[in-house]
Amino acid sequence: MIRDKEMSQTAVEIPENSGVERFLSSKVRAIPPSGIRRFFDLVSNSKDKDIISLGVGEPDFVTPWRVRDAAVYSLEKGRTQYTANAGMPELRDAIAGYLNSQFQLDYDPAKEIVVTVGGSEGIDLALRALLEPGDEVLVPEPTYLPYGPITALTGGVPVGIETFAKDQFKLTAENLRAAITPRSKVLVLCYPSNPTGGIMTYEDMLPIAKLVREHDLIVITDEIYAELTYGSKHVSFASLPGMKDRTILVSGFSKAFAMTGWRMGYVCGHPDLISAMLKIHQYTIMCAPIMAQVAALESLSPTGLEEKDRMIESYNQRRRLVVQGFRQIGLPCHEPQGAFYAFPSIQSTGMSSEEFAQRLVLEAKVAAVPGHVFGKGGEGFLRCCYATSVSQLNEALERIGNFLNKIK
């Protein structure tokens, strides 16, 4: 009875019109709502089954059966325990071997690799391990979204660097230099790029590496789309002379291995950086789920790698189809050399990308993400994911073409 009375007294003290938001951290409150989320709501609420979505950010393949089967088998065998904080040693060995054969990187699986819950956790670990309040994080834009908000949560300051279609959305030394201040600490590179499909070659990165050294920056390189590089071989920033110790490599299995829902990623870097990130990881996550780790290990087997190559070839075929398709219907589209996105310009229509994307959903039943949600330089473009069937792509291109004719 007494307890009831106390509770009712407490309740009386709360002003009735005050929401629980007052409990929230000011840093979280300061994060603006995501533009992509708003667009997602618009598309989902329309409930139109006939919409073709080019708005996705994941493969259209399901995870290859041999990989799923490996996870099922491990569950049947009762492998449901924690693993080592940094991930199963055999998976870290396999990751190290894969990075070495694929990208000529040399990471010690015992000290330089942590298996994370998706590349997303890797980005969080890296930024949290590095940043002090006020530190500036340089992010080439348009870009995948989380770098800015996570930076803000740590008290750091995200600094967007606009990149341009005329440069194929590469980060140029000139633009980077202009953005560097004495507070600059971290440079984020996300190439091949979501949303532009732009890549950075060895020659493109050399002058960037020079500036990184001159200004004593550290680089977080998000190479989740590394395998999806077409017509050339992906070069990892960490493989540039002198850059390994200045680089935290974030990658994972989501895109190339069609494993988005498993949430399997990893971070690699200097042992001192990795052990700092491992501290955060062990207190927040403990370890990545064992069944997903078993699946990831299978995907790195020789036959798993063959399945990956088959999927990449299929994206490349559809990439050519969609880029030519956009150009034919009159939307200029730079040649995306990586990821699975085309980023055509809709500037000729005179509409904002938000208006264009909204009308495209409602009037032409094609969903694509308006470029402005990806930050500076995204306005006037549309992110179109071509990881969907050839027949759907052709139908989508036809609908967009008809829509363009209608609004002329």
């Binding site: 995501s34 992509i36 667009f39 997602f40 598309v43 989902s44 919409i51 979505s53 708005g55 996705v56 950010g57 994941e58 259209d60 399901v62 995948y144 979204l145 989380p146 979501n194 075929q317 559809r318 050519r320 189809l321 030519q324 969903a367 993400v369 050839v390 027949s391 052709n394």
Partner: protein, 163 residues
Amino acid sequence: MNQLKLSILDLLKEDARLSAATIATMLGSTEAEVAAAIDELERDHVIVKYAAVVNWSKVDDEKVTAMIEVECTPERGRGFESIAERIFLYPEVKSVYLMSGAYDLCVEIEGKNLKEVASFVSNKLATIDSVISTKTFFILKKYKQDGIIFEEFEDDGRLLVSP
């Protein structure tokens, strides 16, 4: 065979209705080159036919299919060729394979009903001189044929928009 032809075959095997122009774009080639390669593949009978893969269980007049293991005596000088031909010329016969192991020919037969298949086996197949024995196995359900899984048309499980 060159890489272009192999890539064309891979694409056509999945979708025989792709146009030469689409294939050319997908492979980074020209329409003329692709059309010429397809012509050659057709002329050389590498591409034998463009046929639809049908799930007959969805069609009202359902068919009965049986696999028949046929043991037979090869002919001097011709091996199994002429006997295989005598069998495959029947329109009821959908496929004929020469096998290693316990029997010689694997014959797939399609008929309107059980009786029709049984009568074909007893009247036409088993009566061929060099046929020693036949074992008939009726197919109850087809799950996958020529790499294509039947009844696997689940919705795309992906969110319509994701970052």
